[in-house]
């Protein structure tokens, strides 16, 4: 059977089993499944936040609590309908999430994790200690949900509601990840690259954080009306840890891992809570011992979790992501050949007392390949970072088509038509070649997270992938279109970087050592590609160590040494310049 059909069949069987569960399962089973559904909802948000975007949250249970308490208070004290409790719960969660996100998402790596522990604990103490929230006894008699003619009361009645919401959330995240904003979210783990291709990482992090919090808030709303009772217990740090455990067990980057992990942890917990007190002869939450040990062992021996392993049981689908046809994306017109498009004037960059770039000035014209060469440490890559806005300038100006660039962030500069490659490749190794290249086209699309979650951006997505596929073919990597970038040779990965830069539709292309690691024939193909781009009117700034490659390709050269320009001109003249010879080979006069 074909792989796609087989996968659909497995999915169908899962949904069928779920749909039939209330008909065959006992009350205990259905209750358990309801909890799994609720936990999955929170875990799904964490998959997006932690598994995909790499932002660890040890405080997710607190958002469940905000949602649950908001609706519980509004419905019990003010007699508001539970259906109005939902938007209120979402609004309250959003407000808390935006404040906490604004505060903590600036933290990086483990600081962020510690910060989330801090507010996770703080909020759980707020639930237990603030007057009016019912203290540790909580809020009883939360009304159950009802629609005209139907009242949700039994466990079985809630089953379909909970799983409907959970599966919708799952579908939204599947849709989101397979889209322009989804690729941007996956690029968040490499903020340098993301910013260089027009992604506002700070804002995107907040959106992702907000979405994960809202899913938790919905879970809290369901929790309150399903259990008809709210107390601080389920919103403490312990539960936040369990949510994280779920996605570690399930496989942090996998959407279905959220459900697999929630099922495994919830099932295991229930089983352990039944068996451990008998085994140990006293009662208490001893399942924490097993969970703790399980997670340590998982992280030591199988940090990928359950889902990748399950995934391998089924055959891979071999459908290319490249669309057969789509409407072409709009392209910027190149300026008139020979007109100056980039002017660097007296550029300076100091690292402490070291002047990495010292008073450098040059110009690039449309339809020209300019080589920037110099010995190691001359300041070439620093100059690249100054033009593309990755480093702030200490002095001087960069003007692009008459507009000042210095002071603009990298994401704004790529929007003006300047795209780059990196000396040390900045690619997402697990993503395919076409997806990596499509990141380059991020700035050419407009549809956001909501459209992606609802799959309303399929037309634009096809255009973007079509454009990405075109660039992949253009650089000669068509046969690797759907391979994971990490499986390519380093030289080929550099070529992927070029394709990604081209997908950004640049007027000026900055290439940092593109020929390193290429074989002779590949270099010739690269040179032909670059000449072709130049002939179309693109301007190219090239940093390269392979002098033979540079000499045969560029129109002009700028030679740097110790942060300063020591020569400029056509290759033949520069090559004979005594200062250049001295910089590369040392002074002729110092020998014995």
């Amino acid at each position: 059977m074909n792989a796609v059909l087989l996968r659909r069949a497995v999915l169908g069987l899962f949904l069928l089993a779920l749909a039939l569960a209330p008909a065959f399962g006992g009350d205990f089973t259905i209750t358990l499944l309801n909890y799994i559904g609720l936990y999955s909802l929170v875990a799904l948000g964490l998959v997006l936040l932690t598994g995909v975007a790499g932002l660890t949250s040890f405080g997710q249970a607190a958002f469940v609590g905000v949602g649950a308490y908001t609706t519980a208070i509004l419905t019990t004290r003010f007699g508001i309908s539970p259906w109005l409790g939902l938007p209120a719960a979402l609004a309250a969660t959003a407000v808390v999430a935006l404040i906490l996100g604004w505060l903590t998402l600036r933290l990086s790596g483990h600081y962020l994790a510690l910060g989330t522990i801090a507010w996770g604990i703080s909020l759980s103490y707020v639930f237990g200690n603030v007057q009016g929230l019912g203290g540790f006894n909580g809020i009883p008699e939360v009304p159950s949900l009802s629609i005209p003619g139907y009242k949700f009361e039994t466990t079985r009645q809630y089953f379909y509601l909970i799983w409907l919401v959970t599966l919708l959330a799952l579908a939204s995240i599947v849709g989101l990840l397979d889209s322009r904003p989804g690729r941007a979210i996956r690029a968040l783990r490499n903020p340098v690259m993301a910013e260089s291709f027009g992604i506002d990482t700070a804002r995107l992090k907040i959106w992702v954080f907000l979405y994960a919090a809202l899913l938790a808030g919905v879970a809290g709303w369901l929790h309150a009306h399903y259990l008809r009772f709210v107390n601080p217990g389920p919103f403490g740090l312990g539960y936040s840890l369990e949510y994280l455990f779920m996605i570690v067990v399930g496989g942090a980057g996998h959407v279905w891992g959220a459900i697999a992990g929630a099922a495994l942890i919830t099932g295991l917990k229930t089983w352990l809570q039944g068996i451990l007190p008998k085994l140990l002869g006293s009662s208490g939450q001893f399942e924490t011992i097993v969970f703790g040990i399980l997670i340590v062992l998982l992280l030591q021996y199988a940090s990928d979790g359950l889902m990748p392993w399950l995934d391998r049981l089924l055959p891979r689908r071999k459908v290319s992501r490249a669309p057969a046809e789509a409407k072409a994306l709009g392209q910027a017109a190149f300026p008139a050949r020979g007109s100056v498009i980039l002017e660097v004037e007296d550029a300076q960059k100091a690292f402490g007392g070291l002047m990495a770039v010292n008073g450098l000035g040059f110009q690039i014209k449309a339809g020209e390949i300019l080589g920037l060469i110099g010995p190691n440490g001359a300041g070439k890559s620093t100059m690249f970072n100054l033009i593309t806005g990755l480093l702030p300038m200490s002095g001087g100006q960069v003007r692009f088509q008459g507009e000042r660039l210095d002071g603009l962030p990298a994401r704004a500069i790529v929007g003006r038509g300047i795209a780059r490659t990196f000396q040390h490749v900045h690619l997402r190794p697990a993503m395919s070649v076409i997806e990596n290249v499509a990141i380059g086209a991020t700035r050419r699309g407009r549809k956001g997270m909501v459209s992606a979650a609802l799959r309303l951006e399929r037309a634009e997505e096809r255009q973007i992938l079509f454009e990405a596929a075109r660039q992949v073919r253009r650089v000669g990597l068509a046969e690797h279109m759907d391979d994971a970038v990490g499986s390519l040779a380093l030289g080929q990965q550099r070529i992927v970087e070029i394709a990604r830069a081209l997908a950004a539709d640049p007027v000026l292309l900055l290439l940092d050592e593109p020929a390193a690691g290429l074989r002779h024939q590949e270099k010739q193909a690269l040179a032909a590609l670059l000449r072709g781009l130049r002939d179309q009117g693109m301007a190219i700034l090239l940093v390269e160590h392979d002098i033979a490659f540079v000499m045969g390709l560029v129109d002009r050269l700028v030679v740097m040494d110790f942060g300063e320009k020591i020569a400029e001109g056509p290759p033949e003249r520069v090559r004979r310049d005594p200062k250049v010879i001295e910089a590369y080979l040392g002074s002729a006069g110092t020998g014995p």
Partner: protein, 347 residues
Amino acid sequence: MNFDIALLLIQDGIVNGALYALLALALLLVFAVSRVMFVAQGEFVTFGALSLAVLQQGSMPGTVWLLLILGGLAFLADLAVAWKTKRWEGLRGSALLNLALPILLGGLAYWLAPLKPPLAVQVILAVALVVPLGPIVYRLAFQPLANASVLVLLFVAVAVHYALLGLGLLFFGAEGWRTPAFTSFRVSVGPMLVSGQSLLVIGSSAVLILLLTLFFNRTLWGKALRATAVNRVGARLVGIRTEAAGRLAFALTALFGALSGVLISPITTIYYDTGFLIALKGFVGTAIGAMVSYPIAALGALFVGLLESFASFEASALKEVIVFSLLIPVLLWRSLKTHHVGEEEEE
């Protein structure tokens, strides 16, 4: 609030702050040497306090079983590695540390507990039962992940906390314990009556911090730890075994944790889960010291103690909220100061 109350709160704050400082330094030491943010440090506090409490009842504390079981597992782990690599030379040391020492300490506790020895002996025994848990936990949980990212190690530390929390409940039960004061001595300083226990806590913390400083500056082992903290690869190149450094750091952190527990148990009722919160407050202090500076971390911890003390007077229900919320602006400030454009996140 009048002046007398303020003085009382200050005294309280300094006593707690001194303990948090002790824990903060231990946390910092472990982080510097092994890159582990050891949030499970609090369980050592709990184990130290509760072991002493049980010893005072004349019974053998459950820490003995914990030590024997985890020690046995650590030895088995070493045995498995030796089997796989066919290198047996490290095994004797492992047997001594993970098998012989726990058995010796367990036997001692079994023999001494019913005799109700003097307090000093009980304290030493309680602390001695906890200290080997440090290197054993390091061996089992962290040593195999020496090259993992800080975030993964934090995750493991959280899982270790989770497991030890359950084990604490299993071996000590859910009820709280409070040990009698070490001394009934009281002294008036100006208008203030200072208890001997407070002085003991402050004095011991000061002495321990001083000893730690001397250890770092004057002994070869201390210097080896500092070298490992600065540059793990470099330390390895000059012959310092990073595993040994990790073991030592964890032994020290267990020692400081257990001592804090023993010192605090006459002041506060200790439950199986109390230690975690105490150590987290030490963490806030550490964070104020940016996970690098020992003196600032100690001062930060002192500040946390004072803040907590005043918060508990002004808004006792929300004192934990206030203390932990403090961490966020501190981290934010730290993070802004250390953030560079172009810094790559860990995968």
